[in-house]
């Protein structure tokens, strides 16, 4: 397993509230291999983003995190402040959903990029500036020198997301976590950003964890896919297998809903019922409340993860008979 650069084992994140707590992630586990692009898909509120934040030790208080997250051989959960500072931006860089809000409106792009670069690389201000220009060229932004002097509000959403990608790669991280980086953008821009991330992954051997609820993006970008439901991974496999031979009833429903770029959100409404209340998640298989194949067993016993063939794993009592 030495090729696994990010490994998550039995991750649990809960947010205490009065009386009951919200169990955002309930025993999630998967590994990301060196140099691959892994898609993490699921509906809003299934725990994807919290999982991503946990990888950087960024679960907001009062969230409590249990389990294990190993990045490049080092444990993240419970890591020291110094170790976390090295990890954040250095080993793992993250780009966020809304590029318009992810950059500080009171500082220039250049200032923010060089601040980050100088934390992770032993360069002075002008050296950091050169690296920032290099990174902006890498993400194919025209006039990088001009862009450095701009404030975020002077750039478009697509440009800002490119800046974010540039900031992410400027410190040469091992892993890039992209948390729905295209959701807030126009359809045409979405495609450009996805192509950019794919090219970067190929040319620089970057490992990418790509979080989305848009199956179309997954098909065009990812090597492997993990499907998340109610805080757990229900199915995982190469994107080819998952699109053509999904085993879990949830994945099947998900894939059935027209896989086309930029039409993710509305299509998911096709699945009957609602995402379960994470304060009191259903017993047994969490999906049984919406599953048309559910048995008595599914309501009581939580299914184990089984391997179907090779890479393809699934957590469903009826996976084998339904395939």
């Amino acid at each position: 397993m030495s090729d696994v650069v990010l490994e998550i084992r039995d991750l649990r994140v809960e947010f205490p509230e009065l009386g009951r707590s919200v169990q955002a992630v309930r025993g999630c586990g998967f590994g990301v291999r060196y140099g691959e692009v892994l898609g993490l898909i699921g509906e809003s509120g299934c725990g994807k983003s919290v999982t991503a934040l946990a990888c950087l030790g960024l679960v907001p208080p009062p969230g409590r995190v249990h389990g294990s997250i190993i990045v490049d051989g080092e444990e993240v959960i419970g890591a020291s402040r110094k170790a976390l500072a090295d990890l954040r931006g250095g080993k793992v860089a993250m780009i966020f959903q809304n590029p318009g809000k992810a950059l500080n409106p009171f500082f220039t792009v250049g200032r923010q990029m060089t601040d980050v670069i100088r934390v992770h690389r032993p360069v002075d201000r002008s050296g950091a500036r050169d690296l920032a220009i290099e990174a902006l060229e890498l993400v194919r932004l025209p006039d990088p020198r001009v862009v450095l002097g701009k404030y975020p509000h002077q750039l478009s959403g697509g440009q800002l997301q490119r800046v974010m990608v540039a900031m992410a790669v400027s410190c040469d991280p091992l892993i890039l976590i992209a948390d729905e980086p295209t959701t807030a953008l126009d359809v045409t821009i979405q495609g450009q950003i996805i192509v950019l991330i794919r090219d970067l992954a190929q040319s620089r051997g970057l490992t990418v964890l790509f979080i989305t609820h848009d199956q179309g993006v997954v098909a065009s970008l990812c090597d492997r896919v993990a499907v998340m439901y109610a805080g757990r991974i229900v199915e995982m496999g190469s994107s080819d297998v998952l699109f053509n031979r999904p085993a879990h009833p949830y994945t099947r429903k998900l894939m059935l809903t027209a896989p086309r770029l930029g039409r993710g959100k509305t299509d998911l409404d096709v699945i009957p019922g609602q995402v379960p209340d994470m304060r009191a998640p259903p017993e047994g298989c969490a999906f049984h409340t919406r599953c048309s194949h559910a048995l008595e067993l599914c309501r009581k016993v939580s299914p184990l993860t089984e391997t179907l063939d090779g890479d393809h794993t699934v957590s469903c009592h009826r996976a084998k008979e339904l395939v």
Binding site: A85, F96, K101, N104, P105, H120, H153, C171
Partner: protein, 338 residues
């Protein structure tokens, strides 16, 4: 930018005209008209007529209004009935006392309240935070005059460290006269090089300034904390931390700059609260400023005095808020470089 500035200034002028109008209405339309206040006890018909003519009250209302407006613009608020001097002269003499007090308080409030609010937000839900918030909640419930009285009881009555009231010791003033240059005693005494006079002025201003500061401190601390909390929730703060920037750097540079704009608004508003509060504090400490003057004017039915001070303080307050509005340009790049 020019458009914004002219817009702001136009708005200020409009508001000022509104302010003048309100005071005009207060003076002429509501009961207790200035005539009887002016000529006093049991006038005869001729006296009333003469007074009405002298005050221009025989003219149509809109002419009266225009006269009033014109006078106000020229700073002519009439003659005070109890000092027998032009109100503007009275204001000129007393305003520096009020301004010295409020400016000192505003500086203290900002220097103390803002850091406490920021720390409280950064360490939210720790002991520091709970303590500041509890004190803030309690502090808001204490009336200004009680703060002043409690200070007098403690520092004059019990400890005898500081004088009870006044602006400077009268004997000190006799022995160490100094030239009034700025009108701020703390500055003028230093300019005159008189240490005795300075220390007397300083010891006199401590209590009233503290009372004013304490009465607005909870407000500033609390709003600063809430604004900072809001900023700390912003995506860009999370981004900065996700990229490994030192948390201290993120809080005190990235986040604080974002808090600066709402903070300036708060400082502007605080100035207003302090100007209002100074009326009470000056009364408690017998401070020779506009507050005491306006109270005396009211209790002696001296309407020109009241109106003059009200207009003057409202103008100062509005001007400060205009300055705050213009300062946005310096701080917010979204305005200065669109």
């Amino acid at each position: 930018m020019y458009r914004y500035v002219t817009q702001r200034i136009l708005l200020l002028i409009l508001t000022l005209i509104g302010v003048v109008t309100i005071t005009f209405v207060l003076g002429r339309v509501l009961p207790g008209s200035p005539v009887e206040l002016m000529i006093g006890y049991r006038p005869n018909q001729e006296q009333i007529e003469a007074a009405r003519k002298a005050l221009g009250l025989d003219l149509p209302l809109y002419i009266q209004y225009l006269h009033f407006l014109g006078d106000a613009i020229r700073g002519d608020f009439g003659v005070s009935l109890h000092t027998k001097q032009p109100v503007i002269t009275d204001i000129a003499i007393r305003s520096t006392a009020t301004l010295e007090l409020t400016v000192l308080a505003v500086i203290a409030v900002v220097l103390i309240g803002v850091p406490i609010g920021v720390i409280s937000a950064v360490r939210s839900n720790t002991l520091v935070d709970h303590a500041t918030r509890s004190i803030s909640i309690a502090g808001v419930a204490l009336p200004v005059f009680m703060v002043g009285i409690l200070l007098q009881m403690l520092f004059y009555g019990d400890l005898g460290w500081l004088p009870l009231q006044g602006r400077i010791g009268s004997l000190v003033l006799l022995d160490h006269p100094f030239e009034i240059v700025t009108g701020f005693y703390l500055i003028d005494t230093v300019l005159a090089g008189s240490w005795t006079a300075f220390s007397s002025a300083a010891s006199h201003i401590v209590l009233p300034a503290t009372a004013l500061t304490l009465s607005t401190l909870p407000l500033v601390t609390r709003t600063t904390r809430n604004m900072m909390m809001e900023v700390l929730q912003e995506d860009y703060v999370r981004t900065a931390i996700a990229y490994g920037l030192p948390v201290r750097h993120v809080h005190y540079r990235y986040a604080l700059k974002a808090t600066l704009i709402p903070l300036m608004t708060i400082v502007g508003l605080t100035f207003g609260v302090l100007l209002g509060g100074s009326v009470v504090v000056e009364f408690v400490f017998d401070w020779p400023g506009l507050g005491g003057y306006v109270v005396r004017s009211i209790t002696r039915s001296d309407f020109p005095g009241t109106i003059g001070v009200t207009l003057f303080l409202a103008t100062i307050y509005l001007s400060i808020n205009l300055v705050v509005d213009l300062l946005y340009f310096v701080v917010d790049p979204r305005l200065s470089s669109p």
